[in-house]
């Protein structure tokens, strides 16, 4: 009986000691902020489009860190999902169609003779890429535009188009070769193409 009591006592003591050490370590080596959010935020495309249902990329990053699905970002597409899956060590899942489809890279272009100068798009643009003043024609700074679509909705006269950025001789590159006798069969893991393949 005493042996059992001694054993229990020792274990209790040990657990207290280790608990104290862990508690101390938690306080002593506490990491400020939430680095995982930073890392997730760095992967997200920063279009700030809100298609994920959050007001910007950072809030979505925080939501992912709190367990939201990683497939709600259409601008990032499959590549971003893959990167997030790698970072968080979860399975890469296909893009959730409810939040939009992955499209080619686009920029907003204002049909300038139709613009009435209402400044609504300027207020909507998350990256200040639209230039103009009240009652003056507006225009989009193409280099700053992230293609987030957010200016389309508020425009009262629908004069904003999303235009795909075409391939020029400078941006063109060779496709990835198809590989040896690739066929659709997926019996074993290596038969499957990497999932990022879908984005190309």
């Amino acid at each position: 009986m005493t042996t059992i009591l001694i054993a229990v006592g020792i274990l209790l003591l040990l657990s207290l000691i280790f608990g104290a050490i862990l508690g101390f370590a938690n306080v002593r080596f506490h990491v400020e902020g939430d680095p995982i959010v930073e890392q997730i935020d760095a992967i997200l495309p920063q279009t700030q489009c809100g298609q994920c249902g959050h007001p910007g990329c950072r809030p979505y990053a925080e939501a992912i860190a709190n367990g939201e699905a990683i497939n709600h970002c259409p601008p990032g597409g499959q590549a971003t999902i893959q990167a997030l899956a790698d970072l968080l060590d979860v399975e890469a899942i296909p893009l959730d169609g409810d939040h939009g489809e992955e499209t080619a890279k686009r920029v907003a272009v204002i049909r300038e003779d139709e613009c009435i100068g209402c400044t609504k798009c300027i207020q909507a643009c998350p990256v200040d890429a639209i230039l103009g003043a009240a009652k003056q024609m507006h225009t989009v700074i193409a280099d700053e535009c992230t293609g987030c679509d957010l200016c389309i909705e508020p425009c009262p006269v629908d004069c904003i188009d999303m235009v795909e950025i075409g391939v020029t001789a400078k941006t063109w590159s060779w496709d990835k070769p198809v590989g040896p006798m690739s066929r659709p069969g997926n019996l074993i893991a290596t038969d499957r193409q990497p999932s990022t393949e879908a984005s190309h």
């Binding site: 060779w174 006798m181 066929r183 659709p184 069969g185 019996l187 074993i188 893991a189 290596t190 038969d191």
Partner: protein
């Protein structure tokens, strides 16, 4: 006429295709095969035939399941090469089902399951060999004594070989004889010199038979080197490490250890050095890596031969080093042009 649009280069070296490489390796085994057949009977040849059939059949089966073009992949002769190497490694008198097991296991589990040619981390022939060696140790360690040592007859006739293999009946005991390595391993407390004098498996005749076999493989290996199908790094490192290990221990304890010469000319030393360890898929890629890899195999062989449970150790040594190959690769990258030193490991983010 539509013009082709393809990436450069637009010209390729003619002739030296993958199938040609495989065929050349198969051709290079011919001297060894001839000597082995001459000394140990038709068994080897029969084994090879059985192994080829089994290997091709299992390869075709898996390719069909994977919905891949069977003809396209069978024509690269990689399955045939695996089968030939397996057939050469197996003792000449093993029953047919053992060969079939080894060959199909090699193709299905060691090769196709990993994605087929080029993706297998382990040498398929050695995986097949190891599986049957572990599962059926008795038939796997019975080599035939060479003809002139056994009864007055010449080599075991083809019919007898076939009978022995197909009926899986035990080969007539008098035909069998331990290999020199096996015999040396079981010399018990005898001194080396005593063992060489008294044990039948270590008789001069048996030793010289194995010497011929090894020399034949060496010849084939030199042909491969000449054709630049293999580089010198792996075999030289392999044999060098084995020789160094053997010399060291022989110098320390010449009464119990065997000579380096013995180690290099018995068992599958040359076969392993030129045909097994040089398998490009499962070995290291860089020249420096190949040196490490070969050394590792040489050292492991000596260790297993001397202190391990098996008389010869090519299969296990090679498989163990297969495990280590990616690791060695990461740490043996060559220094690229324009870099002051070679990169190490797979550390990501320091590439700038």
């Amino acid at each position: 006429m539509a013009l082709l649009r393809i990436t450069s280069p637009h010209t390729q070296r003619a002739g030296r295709k993958t199938s040609w490489v495989m065929l050349m390796v198969i051709a290079a085994t011919v001297p060894g095969l001839v000597v082995q057949t001459a000394l140990f009977g038709w068994g080897t040849l029969v084994n090879i035939m059985i192994a080829i059939v089994a290997a091709l059949a299992s390869e075709a089966l898996i390719l069909k399941l994977r919905q891949r073009s069977i003809a396209f992949f069978l024509k690269d002769y990689s399955a045939v090469l695996t089968a030939v190497l397996l057939g050469l490694a197996l003792p000449p008198s093993v029953p047919w089902w053992l060969t079939v097991t080894a060959a199909s296991f090699a193709i299905i589990f060691a090769k196709q399951v990993y994605g087929g040619l080029g993706n297998n981390p382990f040498n398929p022939a050695m995986v097949g060999y190891a599986i049957v060696l572990v599962s059926f140790p008795v038939p796997m360690t019975q080599w035939l004594g060479s003809a002139d040592l056994v009864i007055a007859q010449a080599t075991l006739p083809l019919t007898d070989s076939l009978a022995a293999i197909l009926s899986s009946a035990p080969v007539i005991d008098s035909y069998t004889m331990a290999t020199p390595l096996d015999a040396f391993k079981h010399k018990e407390s005898l001194m080396s010199s005593e063992a060489f004098a008294s044990i039948e498996g270590l008789s001069t005749a048996n030793l010289s038979n194995w010497f011929y076999v090894n020399m034949a493989y060496l010849l084939g290996g030199l042909a491969l080197l000449y054709l630049r199908i293999i580089t010198w790094h792996t075999p030289v490192a392999f044999l060098g490490a084995l020789a160094v290990m053997a010399s060291l221990f022989y110098m320390v304890d010449s009464s119990n250890a065997a000579t380096p010469y013995f180690h290099l000319t018995t068992g599958a030393a040359m076969f392993g050095a030129f045909f097994i360890a040089t398998d490009p898929v499962s070995s290291c890629t860089s020249n420096k890596g190949k040196l490490f890899y070969g050394c590792g195999i040489g050292v492991l062989i000596y260790i297993i031969r001397t202190w391990g449970g098996y008389p010869d150790a090519i299969a296990f040594a090679v498989l163990l080093m297969n495990f280590a190959a990616p690791f060695i690769d990461y740490y043996s990258q060559p220094r690229a042009y324009g870099h002051t030193k070679a990169k190490k490991g797979l550390k990501i983010g320091d590439s700038k």
